[in-house]
Assembly symmetry: C5
Homo-oligomer: 320 residues x 5
């Protein structure tokens, strides 16, 4: 699905002739061509009409790239990712960008709500582009980069919820969730790091993409990327810490359980011994000679005293 | 709220005409304009009168930046943070600085006791500024940087208190506090690191802000930043160690509890067996034939001997 | 075993005269000579005829090198590895490459399915080489590098399977497997890192191997290497996390077991005490005076109530 | 307290006139002025007479600096630390050095045995200085750096002693000591690292301090610093490992304790059951009908057999 | 003990006159002088005759250096280490090398089997040196570096053996061995890293030692060093993992022990209760009224059923 936006505000249909007309009008008119879920016709357009390098066409076909910027003679080819969440799993959506002197071509498989929205804003108010193709490029890249923020916010919320859950319950499910979330965050962090590095190279080495007058704006985008990376880094630290807290909580509970066992055993084992003692056959002979009521009272008293001593002892240790 | 301080010691009100007069007097008079909790009028002043770049105005409006220094044609724009504590959570207060040839403009949302105090000192003794705007800038930056020290000292005290608590009691609450403090300190460390790096770039690359004659002074400020970062780093190490100590303490306690259980069980299970043995029906037949008193004495003797053997054994192992 | 492929599509036998003819034909004809399991004749060919440096011949003889690229006056000597799996152990297969102006010579001990397949494809369709020896070199290196992907995929599957197994069963065997897999992945990661660094130097410094017109293609190969390294890195992280999960799972289970023990002991120790109490000799005297049936009912009632109280208590704690 | 040493061997008193005379004698005579526990007169001397920069005077007054070297127009200002031990806590003693063309001024708060000793040696044999102020500077710095070695040796001994203690006893006290020592060593390591970096910058950038002809000697001092840093690094590793060993030892012991409990419970619970069984009321009826002696023998035999089976089982498992 | 080898194959005795003659023969003849366990005469020879810098002489006297290369006007001074094993402890044997235009002087305290062997080979076949002193230097350095390989192989074997031992037995001794081995390997790794860095600087900066025509050969030696470092690094990883496996194994065992205890307690505590129940005094009254045989059968049946239910339950949980 092709969408064509021009800096002039005129938005012709995405027909190939129209596109090529924009392309050939000697930099007089800037345009942005967005291709969603490209088919063979699109690949052919890019390769035959625009004459992009076969390697870049192959990259678009195969997907599964890393963030990168390659510079060719007349254009730059960039791969940027937008992170999405699919339950706890991360979904990285590839976006390919061809940036030439007066055009931007974006190619992506899945529909991108953010780009769509930007296109509509540009439709309604073409003055947003300041009449410069470089400004459209900035707007598109800025939009793509900022699209990852909601994902980080969502992960942050989940980690917060998980932290509370751990100290409360420390179930095996919580452990599995920490592990999965950590996996997700590590992956996200790695990809954000790679994207940031690519972007830094872009700013420092100043390739086509980064028209001189846009430097200040791209510095801003770069700052956003650094913040995203740092957030992912911080989430990862939190999850590592959560794993430790989980382990400590489980240990703590084991201690509580063992204390309970010890208290029960300490209370009743001596009592059982006493009942056994008074139940011995010769003990019977001994005690039966005197008043059975006194003997009974004595027996019960022994037990009560033993129990009280133990309870005092447990309380001093803080076990009950 | 605008406050205006000039190097001459004359402190006109914060009216826009006065400010612009200082600004336009061709570097003859240096001034420091402090804007607290800026409103639309302030934003307009900065954008329309001072003609600062729209991006920097946007940064000020949105807050939530990272420490940075951007250089524009006629001025530098710096973002510095002051750390504050809100219970165990850290509160980073953004300060935006515009540094021009003869002026410093500071913008911040929350009131800053430290800057207020500096302004009063400059009011009373204008000679502190040595009549140079660059010296005011140094004083303001030095004040902002040093404002983070008390926070570090407070964290240090809390970590110390926590350490003592852990080995004493090792409660689940202590664990949660370690975790939260570690989170706070990590965040603080990350931000101090970023701030330090920004500042180093500042010193090394020598942009406007750092007037040639102030280099020595800024090197001093940089040293303070390095010390702050190292303190945060050291606190983080301590907390990581505290987590390990916590885990070990819990394990140790579990061991103590289990020892207690084992001692109790070892003492009373054999005794119970003996009472049971002497309580068996045929045992009754056997023992009753002879002197019941002797039998009783024998039974009790067996128990005492068994108990003494065990107590000896436990003491040798160091369990009691 | 020698295999000779030429850019012209004519594929003479691997006789030494034929090879030397290709070699001496003043760059008119490019060729690729593949030597599998070299014998003395091959070593002599390389040393005496091609006059390669004795050090490189020694490297080929001894194997056990690291990934590297050395540049000699007329050729480059590169060592690349292909990873294979042998159960859970990794097998690194060394490949030595001599790259000259119009030739590529590959030497390896073990048969390489991937190179064989490439040779057959070049046999059938010589136009694949674009008539340039540099393109054959690219194809061979690309093939060798990509041959490691299936190994990474296989490891990825095993790690996934292991993760599920751990939380299910957490056996000692699973632990040993994690440890072994981690060892394997660490080794793989180290070697992929070294290979990537070597390749980067290759691209950046531009030695013979990387003929100017192939730069774009080698950048692609480099991207594959980076992805391989990152995958290994990610697997390592996963396995480290799996170790922690394993430990937590074992702790959790210990807790469950101890809970079961505590429940059993807490239920039956008091009951045993009660039966012992009612079995005491004087207790007999006391109770037998009144209705034995009432006494029995009372005894059983005490036990039932004690048990119910305990069950309620356990349920509230979530133990049963 | 001022001490004045000159290269000529003449050692005038520390009176200000004498010092200033040495200072002004146009590099003809080199001298070393050592100021211990400086008072206002000393600060004034440094600021008014020597005209050192106010910032350096402030540094001396406030102490609490980091290792650093600043270069001013006519002299270098260096901050070096000597580590001392105060129980398990580390005490860092600051030393400030002013190094000019023909003089060295050292300022420190606490008495320094090492410097004192060096001064006495220079008193007795002025030829040690080779008549060059630069050589005195070298000797002083070498002395200060080497003064940290005994501290490292002492820490090394303590860590060794601690290691033996852990595997023997693994008390809570040992844990606290590991933690404290690790804290101390980390701090020491951080400061040694900073000092080493400062010194490297000194050697590489070659500021005044390092007179050309002394380069070889300072390289030696630098090597000592690197060795100190590596020792601290190694101690830190050892202590981290000791923490792990501690945890493992505690776990191991818990296992031993639990084994003991299991053995005891496994031996006596079945025995108690058997005594209980033979003590049942109807069991009495059953067994009493026949020979009570046989019944008794049978009962005891059952118990002995049960115990033997269990003992065999425990030995096979290696528990007893 | 002095040994003198010349490139010409003539090997005069180690008398000082002979050595000095070789030295002064204006680079016509290259020689290698090996000094083992130097005494005062040797130190004097080096300092007075060869006029080496006093600092290097001091280094040789004091030993305890780090790997390093210092360049002096007419020669290079290098410190290389050979690792040996002394039980589980590592022994680093220092070798000092003076490398001049036409000579190599090696100084070491302990006898070095590897150098001895090389000397004998050079005696027998002087053509090995290609008549060049630089080649002798290469051979000596190569020999010294490769002498560390057997130590690494031995450590590798020990780590392998230890791994098997841990999962089998997990004794406290094994833990201590892991700890000691890790210490050894860390130390070895640190020293190999330092040695590698020194050597890299040697190759990159190209000081005297590395005569232009030997570059290719030294690159080979450097590759060996990198491999040694990587092996030590890998051993360290393995030992860290072994520590984790140890801890997990102990935890696992604790779980097994606790399971055994729980099974025993769960089987016999209810049985004891039942025997106690049937042994109660009033129970006797109740049951004795009817058929004692039926009562006995009923009692035993209750016990058997209770036991069977429990056994079924344990099997389902996989405990027995």
């Amino acid at each position: 699905m092709r969408t064509l936006i021009t800096t002039s505000g005129k938005n012709p249909s995405g027909k190939i002739e129209d596109i090529m007309k924009c392309f050939s009008e000697a930099h007089e008119l800037g345009f942005w061509l967005d291709i969603e879920a490209p088919d063979e016709a699109d690949y052919e357009l890019l390769e035959k009409k625009f004459k992009f390098h076969p390697l870049t066409i192959e990259d678009i076909r195969h997907q599964d790239q890393r963030p990168k910027v390659d510079d060719y003679e007349n254009y730059n080819f960039a791969v940027l990712f937008v992170a999405g969440l699919n339950g706890d799993d991360i979904k990285l959506m590839e976006h390919h960008l061809f940036v030439g002197p007066n055009y931007l071509i974006t190619v992506h498989q899945e529909p991108s709500g953010e780009l769509k929205e930007l296109q509509e804003r540009l439709h309604k108010s073409p003055e947003l582009a300041h009449g410069k193709p470089s400004f459209i490029t900035y707007l598109a890249i800025d939009t793509l980069v900022d699209a990852t923020f909601p994902v980080l916010d969502k992960l942050d919320d989940e980690v917060d919820a998980l932290e509370d859950e751990i100290t409360d319950r420390a179930t095996q499910q919580a452990l599995t969730r920490i592990y999965n979330l950590k996996h997700t965050v590590s992956e996200l962090r790695r990809f954000l790091g790679a994207q940031r590095d690519v972007f830094q190279r872009l700013i420092t080495h100043g390739i086509h993409l980064q028209q001189q007058d846009m430097t200040l704006y791209y510095r801003d985008v770069y700052d956003h990327m650094v913040r995203q990376y740092e957030t992912a880094d911080s989430l990862r630290d939190l999850l590592t810490g959560a794993m430790d807290v989980y382990l400590s909580t489980v240990s703590n509970r084991l201690n509580e359980t063992t204390k309970a066992l010890t208290v029960i055993a300490s209370l009743f084992l001596p009592l059982s011994f006493l009942t056994g003692f008074y139940g011995m056959n010769f003990a019977y002979l001994v005690t039966v000679l005197e008043s059975p009521y006194l003997a009974f009272a004595l027996g019960v008293a022994t037990m009560v005293v033993a129990t009280l001593i133990q309870l005092y002892f447990f309380r001093r240790r803080g076990w009950i």
